[in-house]
């Protein structure tokens, strides 16, 4: 009887070995581009299908770093939102879905420890950058759709609609600046990465909408420049302010030429 038991034990061990050795990732990491469903599934896996105490996928985790790399890959939304062959309405719908996903990701990774430091600092900032870049596309597409659907491209109604959209975008970007208030919770590396957001996405926004009313942003930059003690952040904010001023100069020149 003991031999019979041995046979079953060996079989069971073999089965468990096969099961363990062939465990597949819960995330479609081999997929070239993640669509909104992949994101939804990934967020669900991270939030609800992880064991208590399990760490979220992070850049330092050799096993799961590929997951956070996939999550923060901007190509995932660009491949659809930049595709001019696709309809504007469809791209806007996808942009809206990515926007919702991004908010969910921010909420997921905005975990702080007892000392208020971010547990997933790099991941959180990369997700914020993902969101900033996404919003540039999202609001641009929204404006393009407004233009496409209007009868009169010179109407005041259209101009007001576009301006409202750009104001909302600037307001959303201001939220990123709020973190300067708590910059002491960021590590030096975190501050550098955070400052990069101004160099890249804020600069893109100013270049994309040079005629927009950036006065709320300018006021906030002035306040944060006084408050910040971090050189990388201060340098990036100063550069951004200079860029806004340079756009103003161009606009003023254009006005002067017209008057002349």
């Amino acid at each position: 009887m003991s031999n019979l038991f041995k046979v079953f034990t060996i079989s069971l061990s073999l089965m468990l070995f096969i099961s363990c050795s062939s465990e597949k990732s819960k995330f479609p990491i081999e997929k070239r581009f993640w669509d909104v469903n992949d994101y939804k599934n990934a967020i669900w896996e991270i939030k609800y299908n992880s064991k208590e105490g399990d760490k979220y996928p992070s850049f330092n985790d050799s096993e799961n770093s590929v997951v956070i790399q996939k999550i923060t890959d901007h190509e995932n939304f660009k491949v659809v939102l930049d595709d001019s062959k696709l309809g504007l309405k469809y791209r806007n719908e996808i942009a809206q879905e990515f926007f919702n996903i991004c908010r969910d990701l921010i909420n997921t990774y905005e975990v702080r420890d007892l000392t208020d430091h971010y547990v997933y600092e790099r991941e959180f900032i990369e997700i914020l950058h993902f969101g900033l870049d996404l919003q540039l596309k999202y609001f641009k597409l929204g404006n393009d759709e407004l233009i496409e659907n209007t009868d009169d491209p010179n109407s005041q109604e259209l101009k007001n609609g576009i301006n409202r959209n750009v104001d909302t975008l600037i307001h959303n970007f201001l939220l990123y600046l709020d973190d300067v208030n708590n910059e002491e919770v960021l590590s030096e590396e975190g501050k550098k990465l955070y400052a990069k957001g101004f160099d890249l996405y804020f600069a893109d926004m100013v270049n994309l909408f040079p005629d927009a009313n950036f006065s709320p942003l300018e006021s906030k930059i002035d306040l944060m420049l006084n408050k910040s003690k971090s050189d990388p952040i201060k340098n990036s904010l100063t550069k951004l302010k200079e860029l806004i001023n340079s756009k103003k100069a161009v606009t003023n020149n254009v006005t002067e030429n017209i008057d002349f």
Binding site: M1, N3, L4, V7, I18, P28
Partner: protein, 231 residues
């Protein structure tokens, strides 16, 4: 449950009579009972034979759905192909990159010698091609699959062009060219899937559609499957 675990459990249950006999043998062999060994051998023979038969049946069915068979279709029928023609069974794969909406198409360049003629044609194999749902109304997915067929036709025409231009006059040379063309076609099919990411990258999909259509037009002189060659 993990597919491998499930398969292992099924196989273990199926082979449980063999395992039982092995256990029995281990107990009784000490007493020099050779009857158990004979019984084990006969049980093993029957179960293995049955297993091979069942497995072969499912593997064949997975390769070609002979229960809902439709013969290969020539390229000139491409406009009539819908997902209803995708009759293959997908017994082992439920999703593709996590997606339940997927299809695959089997196409091939076939050739046949008839005296001084060789007929080189591209074919679509309905009973080997699969779609997750035959009633699907996803025209984008169908278009992507049909362009795989167009690629096969393009390479069939390229094969004929190469044969004519190189004045090939032996069967072995023709076979060599077709084998080479099949390899080139395979690479192009892979490139098409990669660049369009199976039709997800819409602008790339449109780019490939335009390119393939243009190339097919460029090779219009080689549309006729039959080609005369001198042996």
């Amino acid at each position: 449950m993990n597919d491998v675990v499930l398969a292992t459990i099924i196989i273990l249950i199926y082979f449980s009579p063999v395992l039982y006999q092995v256990g029995k043998l281990l107990i009784e062999i000490k007493n020099g009972n050779k009857l158990s060994l004979k019984k084990l051998y006969s049980v093993l023979k029957i179960t293995t034979l049955l297993f091979v038969i069942v497995l072969s049946f499912f593997l064949s069915l997975s390769h070609t759905n002979f229960l809902n068979y439709e013969g290969r279709l020539e390229y000139n029928k491409i406009d009539q192909i819908t997902f209803k023609n995708f009759r293959g069974l997908n017994l082992f794969k439920e999703t593709f990159y996590g997606k339940k909406e997927f299809a695959y198409i089997v196409t091939k360049i076939d050739y046949e010698f008839d005296g001084d003629n060789v007929s080189i044609q591209s074919y679509f194999y309905p009973s080997r091609s699969f779609v997750y749902n035959r009633k699907t109304l996803n025209p984008q997915l169908l278009t992507h699959e049909l362009y795989h067929f167009k690629i096969t036709e393009l390479y069939a025409r390229k094969a004929k062009k190469r044969i004519v231009e190189n004045k090939v006059n032996t069967k072995s040379e023709i076979r060599k060219i077709i084998n080479q063309i099949r390899l080139e076609e395979r690479l192009f099919q892979k490139e098409y899937d990669f660049e369009t990411f199976h039709s997800y990258v819409y602008s790339e999909q449109k780019k490939y559609e335009n390119n393939i259509d243009s190339l097919l037009n460029l090779h219009l002189d080689y549309k006729n499957p039959k080609l005369k060659f001198i042996n």
